[in-house]
């Protein structure tokens, strides 16, 4: 049996929504280089809908595939739905991940939530301090 499902390999080989949104209004970055995974999500939100999403990822095959799949799951979706996105949904959409790679899907979920939080802060929807880096990397 191969390490990854065909779907993981497809998203790894042909990642969707790779790159940067110059005028993004929500940006989230999670992970750290020490652990070998960093994901950065760029959101362009208009009228409560994710009009565009792009990602940059430093990480293994499943980290790249998880980022790619997560962007597909939220593109064009209203924010209420995006808030509900779980790592489980990302992993399931990829036809599963090996157990020790599940943290990659967690990072994808966290990167999107961090980008959403950044947007809400910019919009004045939330006003508390951003979470500290260390708190966001525990996966």
């Amino acid at each position: 049996m191969a390490l990854y499902s065909d779907k993981v390999m497809d998203h790894f080989r042909n990642p969707r929504n790779v790159g940067v949104i110059e005028d993004a209004n929500g940006i989230g970055e999670v992970g750290n280089a020490m652990c070998g995974d960093i994901m950065k999500m760029y959101l362009k939100i208009e009228n409560g809908i994710v009009e565009d999403v792009k990602f940059e990822t430093f990480g293994c095959g499943s980290a790249i595939a998880s980022s790619s799949m997560a962007t597909e799951l939220i593109k064009g979706k209203p924010l209420e739905e995006v808030r509900e996105l779980t790592n489980k949904a990302v992993a399931e959409a990829l036809d599963g991940l090996p157990d020790y790679k599940m943290h990659c899907s967690v990072l994808a979920e966290e990167a999107i939530q961090a980008a959403l939080e950044d947007y809400e802060r910019k919009m004045g929807i939330i006003t508390d301090e951003p979470r500290k880096e260390e708190e966001r990397i525990e996966v």
């Binding site: 020490m34 652990c35 995974d37 960093i38 990822t57 430093f58 990480g59 293994c60 790679k101």
Partner: protein, 394 residues
């Protein structure tokens, strides 16, 4: 397909396969049996012992066949530990970048009360003999230093280390799994008391290896049972595997000089080509390394992605990235030579085989360049480095 992971395992040679099949067909007897079929198997076994011994300049009775390198490492270390304990010597010296077969055995001994000193292997991946000499204490019972490192290929000053151990009356074991068959190893000249070897690293079969123990050293056995291997390793001998190992070893040993010269040229071209990748670094000394080994770190990318994309291009290699092992920490070898986690994750090991061509070398270089550039194109780490938000390490 270019198989560039010969440090992981090698393809069996035709001669080794032929020998193995022929022994399985014709010499299937149990070497401990008295009748002819058994005695023929015994002859095959003892001829293999003679052949293996002669390659490393040992006596046949100093060779113990094992299930491979890990078993040999375990047995050698536990042998020295048992001898040391009898006279109250419970200090062992090794290095931080040994194979886990050595390190985990040492961990076990540490829990039993032994003291372990791990020598620094420095940025170049080499033990400094003077530092070893300083570390030797009156209660040191063993020095175990690998002949050549399995990840970065650095070849240790074994002869000098052996000399120092002899001078101080300390047993010296070397894990020579990566060295045997590839560079000259002579247990007499190198002052080696115990040595581990594994057949599948030199085109022999998996699951077989040997331990050399200098005569006069009382071997501790790991497996109790029958009187095979002079009572030091019970269990019916793997005669086909052992015969094939001896065949593979004789074969590779006869071509060693030519192989080394050929591979060194290819290795050096690979190093030269991959060095052109910006913010990359060769791991380990450029010259004091196995002829087949190339190991690089590339900043801003992660090794598993690199391996998967190289595999798509028909190149099979390995990495010290945490993601390839299922642990959170990258290779202990790269950490031991001072690479920080951030760049150790982005490593690539190529261990080339004797049949590699110039075209294949050039194809590897261009493919690695292409894949590294591609992965960097959407790496947030690389972006930060490029934009000056993060300092380059390499």
């Amino acid at each position: 397909m270019i198989y560039a992971d010969n440090a992981a395992t090698t393809k069996m040679s035709d001669a080794a396969i032929k020998t193995m099949v022929s022994v399985m067909n014709d010499t299937y007897g149990n070497p401990s049996s008295l009748y002819s079929t058994g005695q023929r198997a015994k002859e095959v076994l003892e001829q293999a012992r003679v052949d293996v011994a002669s390659v490393i300049n040992a006596q046949p009775r100093e060779i113990y066949f094992t299930s491979g390198g890990s078993e040999a490492d375990n047995q050698a270390i536990l042998t020295a530990a048992a001898i040391g304990k009898k006279s109250g010597k419970m200090h062992i010296i090794s290095t931080a970048f040994e194979h886990h077969a050595v390190l985990h055995t040492l961990n076990k001994l540490e829990k039993e009360g032994y003291e372990i000193t791990l020598l620094d292997v420095h940025e170049d991946g080499l033990v400094v003999p003077e530092e070893l000499e300083e570390a030797i204490r009156p209660d040191t019972c063993l020095v175990t230093v690998m002949y050549a490192n399995n990840e970065i290929g650095t070849v240790q000053p074994i002869r000098r280390i052996g000399e120092i151990c002899r001078k101080h009356g300390v047993l010296f074991h070397t894990d020579a799994v990566q060295a045997i068959g590839h560079i000259p190893v002579d247990v007499e000249k190198d002052n080696i008391d115990m040595l581990s070897s594994s057949a599948h690293k030199y085109h022999g079969p998996k699951g077989v290896g040997f331990l050399y123990v200098k005569k006069g050293i009382r071997v501790t056995n790991l497996i109790e049972g029958g009187a095979q291997e002079r009572g030091k390793r019970a269990g019916t001998e793997n005669v086909p595997g052992i015969a094939a190992m001896a065949e593979a070893l004789k074969e590779i040993n006869s071509k060693m000089e030519a192989n080394a010269e050929y591979l060194t040229a290819k290795r050096d071209r690979l190093i030269e080509g991959l060095k052109e990748i910006p913010h990359s670094a060769l791991n380990g000394d450029a010259k004091k390394r196995l002829p087949s080994n190339v190991n690089f770190c590339f900043e801003g990318i992660e090794g598993e992605s690199l391996l998967l994309l190289l595999d798509d291009k028909g190149i099979e290699a390995s990495s010290g990235s945490a993601c390839t092992s299922g642990s959170l920490d990258p290779s202990h070898v790269l950490l031991a030579i001072g690479r920080v986690h951030d760049v150790a994750h982005g490593s690539l090991r190529l261990s080339i085989g004797e049949n590699i061509t110039d075209d294949e070398v050039e194809y590897i270089i261009s493919s690695v360049k292409e894949v590294v550039e591609y992965l960097r194109s959407f790496s947030p780490v690389w972006r930060d480095l490029q934009e000056g938000k993060r300092e380059y390490i390499l």
